[in-house]
Structure formats: structure tokens, C-alpha cells
Amino acid sequence: MRKYTTSSGKVIIKPFNKIWIVLAVLIVLLVIFDQFIYSYQITLSEIGVILKKMFTPDTNDTWGDYFSYIFTLKDPLVLTLQMSFAGSLIGSVLAVPVAFMASSNIMKSKWIYVPVRTLLNLIRTIPAMVLVLIGVYFVGTGVLSGIIGLSLFSFGIMAKMLFEAIETVDMNPYEALESTGANKIQAFKYAVVPQIMPTYVSYLIYIFELNIRASAILGFVGVEGIGKSISDNIPANYDHVGAAVMLLFVLILTIQMLSTHLRGRLQ
């Protein structure tokens, strides 16, 4: 706080800038965080060592060897793409009827949409990794468990985003369809679906993107794919880990750009 007195004797007070509080909190958090890291025996310098191992060739290798490893990742990469795509598609299709039931403008009764929404919230609290573990429990660590896990993950996100989109549509055509004698499902198909279709497709692309990102950690529970190429090489071959991470980085960036472009055209 600072007090100013003008030449005419008027006093004006400059209010306290809240940015200092934010900065103070950040510094405190940083100190706590540093303690935390220290207690786990990982120092910042060690992170530096690992990073260096990841993004430079092994002592006996050349940069050529380093990058040639990327080409051996073709199969796991394709697997990851397939799993992510199947998971996005299955989850998103299953999400449609559930989003229908979660929309308060379609289901007028609270007794239907509130329980459905609660269920959706529950599903979304479970991390993708745990959902995949559920898949692993049922079908073992194959591609199928990845698809099951990613489908559940996609389903949770899509159902939530979709019902929120449904609640913003113009309900006038829906009323018109009901007046022609259409039932709820028919009226939904002909009055609501055409309105949310572009949004749905754009969400689908976004979820595909999320799935590829999530699949990077699936390797840690043994599911095949690019994630496994990462987890298998820790800690023996950090250079391979770095190469795989770079590949993943490029892949996600490409899909992000594609999806931004496609979604822009859909609107």
C-alpha cells in the first residue's frame, strides 16, 4: 500500500498488489517441494543427469545409432495408434446413449439424469492407468486390455462433454418433432443429433489425442505399444527412452495440429 498526496492536497491510496501474495505462496511451495524431492533422494542435478542420458547417444554410440532406434519403434507405434483409435471410437459410441440419459433437457426427471451423472463422475475419478488395470485383470496384458481401458477412459470424458453439449442445443426443433408424434429417441435423433454432430466429431478427435498421450503410461502396466518401449528401457537404456519420448512428442504434436485444423473446419 502506498499513499500519494497530490499538489492540491488530495490523498489517494494505491491498493496492495495481490501478485506479491501469489509469489510468496509460490516460493513457500517451492521450498516444500524441494524438501520433498530431497527426501526421495533425487536431487535436481540427478534429473539433469537423466535428461542428459535421454537426449544424447550412449557412450559407445553415435547420433546415427541414437536415431536409428526410432525406426525400430514402428510396430509399437502402430499398436498404440490402433489401441487409441479403437478406444476412442468404442468409448465415444457407448457414450451417446448415456449422454442422452444424463441430459436434463431430454430426461425431464431428476431421478434419471442425476444418478447417471453421478456414475459418470465416478468413472472420471478413476485414472486411465487403473482403468487399464481393470482390462488387464480380465484379459491379461494384451492389446485388448489397452482397448478396454482406453474405451472406459474415453467413455467417461465423452459422455460428460457430450451431455453438456446436448444441454446447449436449440430445443425448438425437438419440440416440433415431439409434436409430430416422434418418441424421445426419434426426436433426439432428428432434432438434437444434427446439431451436436460437428461438436461430437471434434470431441472424438480430441479424445483420440488424449488417448495417445495416456497410452504412454500404459507400458508401465505391461500393455504393448510405445509406452512399453519406454518403460522397458528404464533404467538400462535412457537413450532409447529419450528417443521414444521424442517420437511420442512429435506424434502428439502432429495430431494436435491436425485436430486443431480439422476441428476448426468442422465449426
Partner: protein
């Protein structure tokens, strides 16, 4: 034939929209309901296809009491009644053709309509309806590319595609300009005469109601003040219905279109 017997409607907020209405509308009539906004015109109209449920009394359509019907039977009843809205209520992002075709969904099982399977007759019927409304060439345009008057014609075509006995119109021309208004009203007259479809419409513009309808129902505070031929309406009667003389926005004025 539609028959109202002592029909009343009280909304949850206590507003009495209809007070013991008794009416009969015969097949083939063109009826206009006039009155102030809030007089109960819309409630009266929407109670006929049960878009609004009445509180007491009976509404009989071809001697069937509609109070008791629900579910599938209600949908069967609704599909024989077309409805036109002030804001057209089309799916703007969908083609005109699909909008019109959607008038047929109640004739088919859900799974077929979900897959978008319509018999060829339905598609031809939709195109015929568009042709009758003079907008066949717009069939595959997106609905939002059409002007307001054209959109209301699409809505009329959708209603025609239902093969209805009756069309209910809730302020069909209230959001149109005067020239388009006359064109759309001409279409209503055509639907009434050529297809023999009964028309019941709410009208904001009194002169239009008098020009097109052969019967006027004047409503004030949920009570029928006048029910008779259009030529029985005079200034005195209008004051009775409106509680005052007409404001200039309640008449359309001269249009020679």
C-alpha cells in the same frame, strides 16, 4: 371434429390460462384465435395435441377423449396433427429435405428411424410437399440458408408430410415481414382448401385473421368472448376482446403483394 367441454387450465404458478372453455371445431374449418398476448391463445392451441395438459374438462378429437391417452396412442394422435411455430423450429444445420422427411418418423419403428431408413414413398411425399409449397428447388439446401418465409414453408411442408387432418399454428407469421406474411398465409389457405386440412391458428394481426379465417375465436383472460364468422367482428367486438381499441401493430395494414 374437435370438441372442448368445460376445459380449464391452471398453471403451477396459479395463472388461470383457460376458464371453462366450450368449443367445437368442424373438419375443414379455418379458425383464427385472436386476443391479447397472455389471453390463453397459445394454451388453447397447445392443449389440442397435448403439448400442454389441461387441468379439468374434456377435449374430444373425433369422439376420443385425449385426456386418457398417453404413450404410443398419444404419439399416434400427434402424428395426425401438424404443428407450426412462430420460430419455424427447423433444424438449421440439416437439409430442407431431411427436415421435411422428419415429419414421417412417427410412422416407423425407432430402430429404422435411428438408421435413417425411410421408404421411397416417404421421400417422394416429402418432395411433393415441398413442391406444393413452391420450394422444391431448395430441397437440398441447408435450412438456415433460406429466408424466414421460406423456412416457414419448409415447416408447413413438414406438417403436410405427416398427412395430417389438422394443422395447429402458433403465431405462424409473427416473425415475418408483411409481404412474406401474406405469402405464407396464402399457403395456409391453399393447404386448407386443396388438402381439406382443418387449420387452427393463433394470430397477432387481426386484419389477417379476418381476411383468411372463416371463423374467429376471440379470447380474453381465458374466456371465449367471440366465436363466429369473420364478418361478425366489428370495432365494438374488438374492444370487447382486447379491452381497448387496436394498436397499430395489431393490424398488418395494406399489402398488395
Amino acid at each position: 371434429m374437435i370438441k372442448f367441454v368445460n376445459v380449464s387450465k391452471t398453471y403451477l404458478n396459479g395463472v388461470e390460462a383457460l376458464k371453462s372453455i366450450n368449443l367445437e371445431v368442424n373438419d375443414g374449418e379455418f379458425v383464427a384465435i385472436i386476443g391479447l398476448s397472455g389471453a390463453g391463445k397459445s394454451t388453447l392451441l397447445r392443449s389440442i395435441n397435448k403439448m400442454i395438459e389441461i387441468t379439468s374438462g374434456q377435449i374430444l378429437i373425433d369422439d376420443v377423449d385425449i385426456a386418457s391417452i398417453k404413450g404410443k396412442e398419444l404419439r399416434m394422435m400427434r402424428r395426425s396433427i401438424g404443428m407450426i411455430f412462430q420460430s419455424f423450429n427447423l433444424v438449421k444445420k440439416m437439409s430442407v429435405f431431411n427436415n421435411v422427411l422428419s415429419g414421417r418418423v412417427a410412422y416407423h419403428p425407432t430402430y429404422k428411424t435411428i438408421l435413417g431408413l425411410f421408404p421411397k414413398e416417404d421421400k417422394l411425399l416429402a418432395l411433393d410437399s415441398l413442391d406444393a409449397m413452391g420450394i422444391l428447388d431448395k430441397a437440398f439446401a441447408r435450412a438456415d440458408q433460406l429466408s424466414g418465409g421460406q423456412q416457414q414453408r419448409v415447416a408447413l411442408a413438414r406438417a403436410l408430410t405427416q398427412k395430417p387432418k389438422l394443422i395447429l399454428a402458433d403465431e405462424p407469421v409473427a416473425s415475418l415481414d408483411p409481404i412474406t406474411t401474406v405469402q405464407v398465409m396464402d399457403d395456409f389457405a391453399k393447404v386448407n382448401k386443396e388438402y381439406g386440412i382443418t387449420i387452427i391458428t393463433n394470430m397477432h394481426h387481426v386484419d389477417l385473421a379476418l381476411k383468411y379465417a372463416n371463423r374467429i375465436i376471440g379470447v380474453k383472460d381465458g374466456i371465449v368472448m367471440y366465436d363466429g364468422p369473420a364478418n361478425g367482428i366489428n370495432d365494438e367486438m374488438l374492444v370487447k376482446i382486447y379491452g381497448r381499441s387496436l394498436k397499430h401493430d395489431e393490424v398488418l395494414g395494406e399489402t398488395d403483394a
